[in-house]
C-alpha cells in the first residue's frame, strides 16, 4: 500500500489525476446530456422529463463525490490551493453566467442553459489550480 506522501508525490497515479480525468469526463457527459436531452424533455411527458433530469444529474453527483475524496487525500497546502481555486473558478463562472444572462436579455448572444455554468466552473477551477501550482514552483 502506498503511503499518503507516495500518493501525493505522484509515484502512483495521483488523486489529482484521477479527479481531473473523472471530473472532466463527467462534465463532458453532463454537457452532452443537457444538449441532447433538454430539447427532448420539453417534448415529452413529465415523468420522462424527471428521468432525463436524474440522468443529467448523475455526473454531478460523481464530481461531488470525487472532489471530497480528492481533497481528503491532499496535504494542508494542496487542500488550501484546491478550495481557493474552486472558489475563484466557480466565482468567475457565476460572473460570466451573469454577464451572459444580461447579454441574452438584450438578444446579443444565443440562449444557453444556466446549467452550463457548472462545466465552465470545473474548467476554470482546474485552470486557476494549475496557475497557482505553477507559481509555487
Amino acid at each position: 500500500m502506498p503511503s499518503q506522501s507516495e500518493k501525493r508525490s505522484g509515484k502512483k497515479p495521483s488523486a489529482q489525476t484521477r479527479y481531473i480525468v473523472l471530473s472532466l469526463l463527467a462534465m463532458a457527459i453532463f454537457t452532452l446530456a443537457i444538449l441532447v436531452l433538454t430539447p427532448l424533455a420539453s417534448q415529452n411527458e413529465t415523468l420522462t422529463a424527471i428521468g432525463f433530469t436524474i440522468v443529467s444529474t448523475l455526473p454531478l453527483i460523481l464530481v461531488a463525490y470525487e472532489f471530497q475524496r480528492y481533497v481528503r487525500a491532499l496535504d494542508e497546502l494542496q487542500s488550501q490551493i484546491e478550495m481557493q481555486s474552486a472558489a475563484i473558478g466557480f466565482g468567475l463562472a457565476l460572473l460570466i453566467a451573469a454577464i451572459w444572462g444580461l447579454a441574452e436579455g438584450y438578444n446579443l448572444v444565443p440562449r444557453i442553459s444556466i446549467a452550463m455554468t457548472l462545466p465552465l466552473g470545473v474548467v476554470l477551477h482546474g485552470a486557476v489550480r494549475q496557475i497557482r501550482l505553477w507559481r509555487l514552483g
Partner: protein
C-alpha cells in the same frame, strides 16, 4: 516567515522528497515551506519541530520579530 528548514534538511542529507515523506506532505509543499511561500499550520509546525527535535521558534522566525 523565515525558517531554517533547508539548512536542517541539508545537515541530515535529506532530499526534499525524503523530508516530505517524513512529514507526510507533498514535495511541492516542502519546497513552498523552505522558500517561505507558505507558512505551515500549527500542527504541521509542531510535527516539523518534533522531527528535528527542536522548538518551533528555533526553526521559524517571525519577519516582524
Amino acid at each position: 516567515m523565515k525558517n531554517r528548514l533547508k539548512e536542517l534538511r541539508a545537515e541530515r542529507g535529506w532530499s526534499q522528497q525524503a523530508l516530505a515523506d517524513r512529514l507526510d506532505v507533498s514535495r511541492q509543499t516542502t519546497n513552498a515551506l523552505e522558500t517561505g511561500k507558505y507558512d505551515p499550520s500549527l500542527p504541521l509546525a509542531f510535527k516539523i519541530a518534533r522531527l528535528f527535535a527542536l522548538r518551533i521558534e528555533d526553526i521559524f522566525e517571525d519577519d516582524n520579530g
